[in-house]
Symmetry: C3
């Protein structure tokens, strides 16, 4: 790009050599969330979980209002970080240690900060992996989200010296003790039929696989609306010219939109998984484009009681999303360790469900 | 579909033989409606009725806030019923006795229940007609919508025995006595110019026909956003792969979106029809697809004073929507009883208008 | 079009000979704006200005809530005027003297009025230029927007006599004294990092040019949603059949959507331009269509201190938007006075920024 003097007022994002271990970044654009975001998120994903859909239902469980969808909160916090962290990212490599904190209610205002917790130049010398821990907080300073992600970022100048390599230790999964149950939540009067069925925490067994059945075809207008709603500025999602010059020749759907669609689909099979409490690990296996039809299935990995609660339990799930391939055969990695060509997402999360009483 | 043991957690919807006369269904996913739904509905339909557009206008008429659009309320209640009633529907055959109750205001939370009031297996033995009466209620238990619809539903097992045939008697139209005027509504200070013109109830004469003129071209992203906003899960609207394997080879627009577009268009000619009070009958004549341009016209069928009110009157309307055909020639059924090939909707509704004072 | 007796109930909009100098029009459809409009506007444009994005940020500056985006307010007021002013417009020729008044907060209800301040039949005798001054007000009667626009409108009957020509004198720019700073605004605790950077009013120098870098590809569903959100009824934006019969053969993007996209892009380079205070002049150079990728750049024309304020300054900007052409070379008019073929918008506006303290 032509570097005119005036370019200095325009941010082109950070490159690999701009990051320093221990560096802290306060991200721009504080953001309020409200009924508008809730409604658009429903229109974009079709999500049907009762707790996030009805203020009256939420109040019947002791909450002050219907909390906003956890994955929506993830996207909003993630969106703040993009201009500073991943504007020059080649790939979003993974997530870990993602814990959802206090619920976000309509009217809350969020901000986000990140710390660089790891750096590793790649062997090519043209890119490097940046590990960041990002924290989203509400207007009272309470943590709503805390997560690590690592991205492959271009170097501005391939000749820039490599930093000392530091790769942080990443937990394989968020421990059950670290999961947050919304304050005030009481499941005594939980209305199973209204929520979508009588499947309780006890009904799910590790190893069990669930096909979420329903497929969703994506349109460019839809994923662009979603990604702009999150004020995520990554060019490959919005700019046809940039995308056509790239490796895939067309706009790439924000990977987080795929997570949202898979989470919404999981209502069919997990209707009472009322909260995503953690994302343990996972990432985007392949890009998704407008016209693709997304499907998803989940496997129960672990089942955990929660300390001090006999009304809520946790399930650790592996959710795989595919494009243009229904999931009744549960496509995943083959014996050679390679993913089935239809797989686009492999996500390890922990959800909360009511226990049978 | 492969029936794995785990499929039992996933709902594939009810088939004809699953329904029993008198069966009651409490539908899942309670739903709050607010300013977000109002705004998206405006963006999706362009509706311009003053009462639903301005809280200040609504307050000038004695209401606490601008009520949400009646047809939006219809879609929300309808959406609740889809997973239980019509996930395996071949066709949505008709509506009757649809009465709008208390207005829905931002912040209200709706739930829906249905009762099976009729069953009739078709001669092929592969499908059957299910008649349901569905009722939507707010968080105070007040009825916001009460309607009958009948759908042609597939049998899971063609060999399943036919139930006793029971076809309910359906009223030809909702009686004027059954129409609900919003509590507290006073039209004394109705601002005709602000609402869109001086056309009062008295100005419309039975037999009169009105071309609503304006055409609207539909996009896949639009009808998908609308249908997901209503949490309507019918596959043919969202899943390109399922749709391409079906009779029409492409995604079908939710018929309710066509009703919304026709209602919005009717502002041009009926600007003061401030409320849809009833849907008497009607149905979807032909499917609509992305790329189609919708037009509409209405005929005044009847004009009714309302008992005890000298400020409000009712008009029974027949509204026909077409695709790719402007309506200045009022296309409808020909002398042979067959619809003009452009017609997609034939709806019999009752709207309320201010009387001239 | 067939003129049946019933056509009289349908508005086809005013033609040139319907306008009279001094005529006042109260426009239909009063409109409340709220969190829903804010969220959709963000989803449609990706705008990232802190003041409009976060209620908490707005409160830290002494305001009661986050005001709605100024350009959104412009579109809402503009939308009211379309059915009366420009339904039969051939072209939207220009804007002038556009001053933004009191901020619009969620819950406010707007109405709009216009006065015909100029008329000039064109030499062809088939069209004429109509100059209107339009004013938007909130529910307390306070002015939120006051602007002049002129449009080329068709005559219904080319034989209709020409009115006396009256062309109003238009100010070249809104004077700094006329600019409105939101009541109660205090920038003492302005959080520069949170807002997007430390660029203050003092950092911008007349003559300086800023490439806003980021490109946005438009979809039909997106501009249709935007334009309907504003209840703007111009047929060329929505009706594929009408558009295909027109000069361009396809639906034209509402020019205001281009202004919104350019304003959102300007965050990159002008992150602290927290308010659009005026649109001095400008217009739409060429039409935009779905599939086009929009870019923008700005030139600082003037810098003004504001009377009585040492915390806020104003910049007069010229913003040019292009389609399918990145702006690092600052495309504009050539020496022959003709615009570069990529230019679609040339807008002269005044924005407010915090001064360094």
């Amino acid at each position: 790009m032509h570097q005119s003097p005036t370019m200095s007022k325009t941010s082109g994002g950070n490159y690999f050599e701009d990051f320093v271990l221990g560096q802290k970044l306060r991200h721009a654009t504080p953001r309020s969330l409200g009924e508008g975001e809730r409604a658009i998120y429903t229109a974009l994903t079709g999500t049907r979980f009762a707790l996030q859909s009805s203020a009256d239902f939420a109040r019947s469980l002791g909450l002050p209002d219907a909390p906003l969808d956890d994955i929506l909160v993830f996207h909003i916090v993630f969106g703040r970080t993009v201009p500073d962290i991943s504007l020059n990212a080649v790939a979003n490599l993974g997530y870990a240690a993602c814990v959802f904190g206090v619920p976000v209610y309509p009217g809350d205002s969020l901000t986000a900060e990140s710390e660089v917790i790891g750096l590793k130049e790649t062997s090519s010398g043209k890119t490097g992996v940046v590990y960041v821990r990002s924290v989203g907080r509400n207007q009272r300073g309470e943590t709503v989200l805390d997560y690590i992600r690592w991205v492959l970022v271009s170097k501005r100048d391939p000749a820039a010296p490599a930093p000392d390599t530091h790769v942080p230790e990443l937990p394989k999964a968020v421990s059950p003790e670290s999961l947050s149950v919304p304050a005030g939540l009481s499941l005594e009067s939980y209305d199973w039929a209204l929520a979508g069925g009588d499947l309780a925490w006890e009904d799910y067994v590790p190893g069990e696989r669930i096909d979420h059945v329903d497929g969703t075809t994506l349109e460019d207008a839809e994923h662009q609306l979603a990604t702009r709603l999150y004020q995520n500025t990554a060019k490959v999602h919005f700019n046809r010219q940039v995308a056509e010059a790239g490796a895939f020749g067309r706009r790439i759907v924000y990977g987080g939109h795929v997570i949202s669609i898979a989470r919404a689909a999981s209502f069919n099979g997990l209707p009472n998984a009322f909260r995503v409490a953690a994302i343990n690990a996972g990432g985007h296996v392949a890009p998704t484009f407008a016209g693709d039809t997304l499907y998803a299935w989940s496997q129960v990995l672990e089942s955990h009681a929660l300390p001090g609660r006999d009304d809520v339990g946790a399930l650790r799930l592996r959710t795989i999303a595919t494009k243009d391939r229904p999931c009744e055969a549960f496509p995943e990695r083959g014996e050679d360790g390679r993913y089935d060509s239809a797989v686009v997402l492999d996500l390890d999360s922990t959800v909360l469900l009511p226990r049978r009483r």
